[in-house]
Subunit: 201 residues, 3 copies
Amino acid sequence: MLFYTLDIIGTFAFAISGVLVAMQKRMDVFGIFIIAFVTAVGGGTLRDMLIGKTPVGWMNDLNYVYAIAAAVIISIVLRKKLNKLRTSLFLFDTIGLGVFTIIGVEIGISANLHPIICIALGTMSASFGGVIRDILCNEIPVIFRKEIYATACIVGGITFFILRYLKFEEDLIYIFTVIVVIAIRLIVVKFRVKLPNVYQK
Amino acid sequence: MLFYTLDIIGTFAFAISGVLVAMQKRMDVFGIFIIAFVTAVGGGTLRDMLIGKTPVGWMNDLNYVYAIAAAVIISIVLRKKLNKLRTSLFLFDTIGLGVFTIIGVEIGISANLHPIICIALGTMSASFGGVIRDILCNEIPVIFRKEIYATACIVGGITFFILRYLKFEEDLIYIFTVIVVIAIRLIVVKFRVKLPNVYQK
Amino acid sequence: MLFYTLDIIGTFAFAISGVLVAMQKRMDVFGIFIIAFVTAVGGGTLRDMLIGKTPVGWMNDLNYVYAIAAAVIISIVLRKKLNKLRTSLFLFDTIGLGVFTIIGVEIGISANLHPIICIALGTMSASFGGVIRDILCNEIPVIFRKEIYATACIVGGITFFILRYLKFEEDLIYIFTVIVVIAIRLIVVKFRVKLPNVYQK
């Protein structure tokens, strides 16, 4: 139940990040809603399509749709004050990152997939909504260039499997995984860590 | 049967709109065909993948493929005269919009999905081919910025459910829904209605 | 077994072509890996999702993942010498083109689809990884504009069905199809053949 609440909070936060990008691109309200939507559920939707879990998740639970609609309305109304909420938004967004990673890993496990594929599914759930958002906004996806966003998910996924192998209880695995994801993200932002870029010349 | 004919006509018209964009981007004939194809069937294909109705529609009915091939050949041959056919094309395209909306809504209903999701599927069927076309052509999708195209589908979908709730006959529901979609589109184009854009500053 | 080896070699070569594009776009190592991945398996993944063959292929065979990881590491390490390997890379890439076409056609046949759709699936398997790569890199897909890449796959697919109709043995069909694909690609590159572009004015 707590987990489901965190999932909805993460959806809400991801949707707001979509709204912010869509407003920068001067989209109309329909465009803003769609970008918010794909940012929030795009990663999970792609994951569900890849493993054949259809109809995809949000089609059977309108709470995701309501959370996204609320995020759009609130962030349009409060658009001039959003900068002041930056810290809360960052926190929600990071919680979402952790929760979505766990959901993706769990779905991979219940489909009997190899841990490497499960970690890939977790990372995809958490970070590919942003990739689809950037494609729709005609940008090279930001996580391919300079944000260690996916890395936090990958390390989180590895943590998950190590704790699982050590027979930790499910609740503890969840909590530790989320903490690891949040910790890495905070460290990365604080110390401006970035992955190496590689050029041919 | 009439409905199927209208579906094919809509596919044909959507394909032509794809050809026009692809020619502007100076693509070769293969590129033109692919863009025509995704414009015509991309929305329905995405819908089918999301709900797990595979193999997707056009794989089991070659008439869609033939309609698209015909659209490509005809519009390449007549490319200097297409401007004169603008009114007919607009009409066909708008019929397609209405018909595709209904098909999407019906498929959502037969998959036992909530009316809100059904309306989303109708809108997606009718308008996401154009979104995929724009992505492949490296543009921000036009319906996110200035065309009230999706709005006509959404209102059409709502009309569909109101009439269904009022126990209208299926044929009447179809006819009224298509008329509503066409009427909204005409009004929008005539009076240059647009959705509000929202900026942060 | 030979066929599977060629499939892995093709995957490896396609992944390297992804790395080269990603490095040009100055992506970080995560971005490079993802672009290599979608270039190598994107076409087959789209094919599998369209026909409902899920979980998609690479999720059940980690050798693809390992081949891609090897391609990424090797091409980053050897990045200043890759130009000298241009001929080998072109050869591997072209073998991949032939092998992926056959795999797509075969999967279409086992799903009882019409030969036209099977040829489309073969072409998609072989060439749509590059399309997804270009979209993620914010470019108009190169095969829509100037490379006769897909044409080699289409002609290969037609060859496949002609030989099958003439009751050739499976092994011979495979060998001839791959030879046709390679031959067309070589002729195209040598004589700089290109498909006609069509403009409206």
